[in-house]
Symmetry: D2
Subunit: 338 residues, 4 copies
């Protein structure tokens, strides 16, 4: 971390700050420019917040050099991490496809979709039992009952499941029912108590990017989980909020490339929530894999028109099968398999 | 709600949708334009989501006419709500000022600040005991111990307190210690389980706007709380995330005017978090009151340079006193008192 | 266009508005809901602005149904447009790659790069002679002299050129020197006088998306050009401004899919300006083609480290050649050729 | 400017960069941290672009310390600038109010409004003759004829005028007709050729902030004008583009405070374009002055419902008069006069 002092900062202010930094365990290298003093901090600065120093009236600017995370950082872990989700490897050569309905509605519905996505080659079954909805009057998911239906359907087709956890008080249920991959949704990306709670589990976590989270904030949320012990974090880009309203959110595929450079964690893409339109899902899924993502997560429904939630962005099993065919062709071109 | 069908929508598609809507309890008025059919829905459409209809392949566009909230809406509650926080009225003629440190550090610190802001005329004491921090390595607050110090200091100077609740499992503690106003922070604005939980309490709630929440989403989060029974919600604008990085966030004072038109709930402004710079706090506090806000929430620290958190945006008790003097002059010009 | 009147709108207000609309040449179909009157406008509403009606105190909401553009719209021109740039077809089966340095520096530099990109299979040579720079103190381009160098180098390797026009007073120069494709930069996307001026030419125009332009505003700017007679418009997505600062801009690849649905015009992607980092260019170029773009525009420099402009995002001829090899593999998978 | 080299940067790479910097006229102070070399540049770094150095493969990060502008910077010009607009002083103790219709429609209309705003105490008459419109099919202004009407009306009521210049080829007309204050609109804030052109005039310039311009980019555009000789620049905040759609744009009042700190130039606020709703104009005008703005620019129309442009955000002369009364009460509280 580099601290630039103001032009008129008195020597005592500089020395006081140096002493304070030394006391906090950092070595400081002072450099005197023509008019300004610059302090370079040496030590574990990833734990520091730039804003901590801006309260000092003699500090003009602070620049972070080291990243603010360690366990999630590629600097400290150069090899790609491969996360094992009940036997499915995420982050390796093989692409992973998680597919299923936005919300679980009936045993028949989830069964039909499970069988269909399995047949087309999906590696995980997704389905929402606890649904975060903007309105208290919208359908909130079938909750425990939905979870049971999901687990049942998954067992039949022999796929691991991924489903969203909204609150720490349901962790017991998730463990008992053996959810294979716990999803933390975009709205909870900075629900730090929840992050800590799943950080203490052995179950892998799918961490969706918040609507307005920078890539570094997203990696910091991964760090929250990892700092508690759970290193099995998979990231999921699902669109950010911008001024553009032609799409539900703006899919930020650059984030895939940036994450791959800054972190060793696998990253997948959710083209359904990102775009909000089923006619966009195929193009964006292809683009995600071409950009280097480790897989996709995709909403599939046997009757999108009557889906209880997000029908507008759900594709049919037929479209999903078509997409899988195209992804299979694309995979080798980006050095992957499907 | 108005649904525009696609130009080539077959009559049966229109009729099927009408039947479906009738079955859900809505009357439908069909109108045939030159080339497109338009359906007008009559009934309690505030419970509907526009996106529900976009899954229908024959639907081209949907426009909401009624707001998606009811309890928070001025249409259903034309008079301003006045919320009583342990005797302090928020939303009435008298402006409310909530002041105190970002985080509680020591009994001396919180005492000193409490006495100072009381002397200058603050009506509530704020202070963070449970702190949501981007990094797991940053100071996370003194937690229960901090809460005790806050309550103690507040009792001495006879001010009600406001402090942030990050997780439902601390509600017992908050009730037991008699927190007067429970703050839901920006990052938890769409932590729906938490909203429901505070919705079941009798304690007033200060609901901060999320970093990238639209005004309607913010009011929907208020509706979550209110739909569980707790009508005592105060809104707090604290800056939104935009491309501009000269300020920590972009203070959206227009939101005050929009909220006042759409809702009967009181709305205050936090110029400290919005700007991130102590030299901006006074100007923005003045602007907030001039814009029609019901009060402000402001970070005050006796030694900002050594604050454990957010010193950069904390003002000293002296500056706070100066600001209070200016607000007192401004109040009558906008028809208020302080 | 659909106009919803306020609940308490008097009949005379409705009738006055209807008369006004009739006088402007629109038929109006009035529909009486339970509590509100809804007016449907029939006629060439693409010329209307929703905001025109919001000045009326009895109007509550206005929803556009028809798009606000006609010549750029796929509704009026269902087939893809193929634009001929001096023999290079843009928008057809064959992908187009425009490559070259950010700015023209010396005859040797532009020659070297021109030869290299030609050898690798580029179809157009790009190079900046007139440079829009944020600072008046930055290098502003070699201007006419640079244009001469570009034309000379392009002639030698037999490639058409694309270069930016910043001001209408240089149109004579561009015509005289026979620039094959005139670029309108992102900052000038709503310089309407410039759009009209190139709309009166016979030369094709490459219209970059503005930093904060919605897709519809971008298509409206194409409509400005087309409404003056010039139908040869190619669109170029180059990143939008968002809160995320890990990349120079946020590449919006969804825009490719949306443009393809709303418009018949070809759309290419500039991964260099979008990302600002050379190590991201390959991934984003691959993703762009996978998403369905008609081609890419890419900054290539023989010595990026000493480039006079944007070296950080320029790739070397070697990297470009590598990228071209990958794009050649990718093309057939998305039904294209290269 | 501070340049941080990568951890593994070889000494020769450091020395080469130092030589290059010396050759460009900068002194360099090298400082060796534990693992990284940091270079501090001494000299007129306001002319440098951080991005220039990021092309160097051994450079990790660059931090600007000095601002990228000089003439617009308060560091080089500590006193507030006061700009004289045909006798009206902008930036001094007296607040300035510019008012008038969005577009000039008829001699009667502009006369009526001119007389009304003069009576209420406006100091300049605004009115659009050349209108930048998103659609080529919208009313584009009465152009030269409108300009004549504006000048005529202004002469009658003895007010200077401000009106927008969209293209350099109209400068002759603007000079001939003696426009007192030339407005550069938001969409042209980075039309650099136009900025240079008005920079060579003696007439003061009102520079509106671009829709997605950072405050520093806005000041850089002022610098463009000033670097050509014309020091008479007034800034105008008019809302930025964000995700929030309840308002036409998001008024960024923090920008007033930031501009006041970074620059000596006067800054006014346009609450009409910022909000897009006439019912918000008064509140936001009050807030702007409370925040420290030097004045406001406000759309006033005698018949907003039938305005040819932007009626939704225009207030009536009566509302304007009411607002002026309130501003007159507010002025002394922020140390101003009206």
């Amino acid at each position: 971390m580099i601290i630039v002092m103001k032009q008129n900062a008195p020597l005592t202010a500089v020395e006081n700050l140096e002493t304070e930094l030394n006391n906090r365990g950092f070595k400081v290298s002072r450099s005197q420019g023509e008019s300004k003093v610059v302090l370079g901090l040496i030590g574990d600065t990833f734990k520091l917040d730039e804003r901590d120093f801006l309260g000092n009236e003699w500090v003009e600017k602070v620049m972070r050099v080291q990243e603010p995370y360690k366990r999630a950082s590629r600097s400290f872990h150069p090899q790609n991490s491969i996360i094992d989700v009940s036997g499915v490897k995420v982050g390796g050569k093989k692409l992973v496809v998680m597919a299923g309905p936005c919300s679980i509605e009936t045993p028949e519905q989830i069964h039909t979709v499970a069988q269909a996505v399995k047949n087309s080659g999906a590696s995980l079954l997704r389905g929402g039992a606890f649904k975060p909805r903007t309105s208290p009057y919208s359908f909130q998911g079938l909750r425990e009952k939905g979870l049971d239906m999901l687990i049942e359907a998954a067992k039949d087709v022999q796929l691991p499941v991924v489903t969203e956890l909204m609150s720490a008080d349901k962790i017991g249920t998730f463990l008992e029912k053996k959810v294979d991959l716990i999803q933390i949704g975009a709205r909870n990306m900075q629900n730090f108590d929840l992050l800590r709670a799943v950080g203490r589990l052995n179950v892998p976590v799918l961490l969706k990017r918040g609507l307005s989270a920078t890539i570094d904030e997203w990696l910091m949320s991964a760090e929250y989980i990892m700092s508690e012990g759970n290193q099995n974090v998979i990231l999921c880009e699902r669109g950010i909020r911008t001024f553009e309203k032609a799409t539900r959110n703006t899919l930020d595929l650059s984030a895939v490339t940036v994450v791959k450079r800054r972190s060793h964690l696998p990253v997948i893409v959710d083209p359904s929530h990102a775009t909000g339109h089923r006619w966009m899902v195929e193009d964006m899924a292809m683009a995600a894999i071409a950009a280097g993502a480790d897989g996709i997560m995709c909403e599939v429904h046997n009757d999108p028109e009557h889906a209880w939630c997000d029908g507008a962005e759900s594709i049919t099993p037929e479209t999903f099968d078509h997409l899988m065919g195209r992804l299979r062709q694309l995979a080798p071109i980006v050095g992957r398999e499907l």
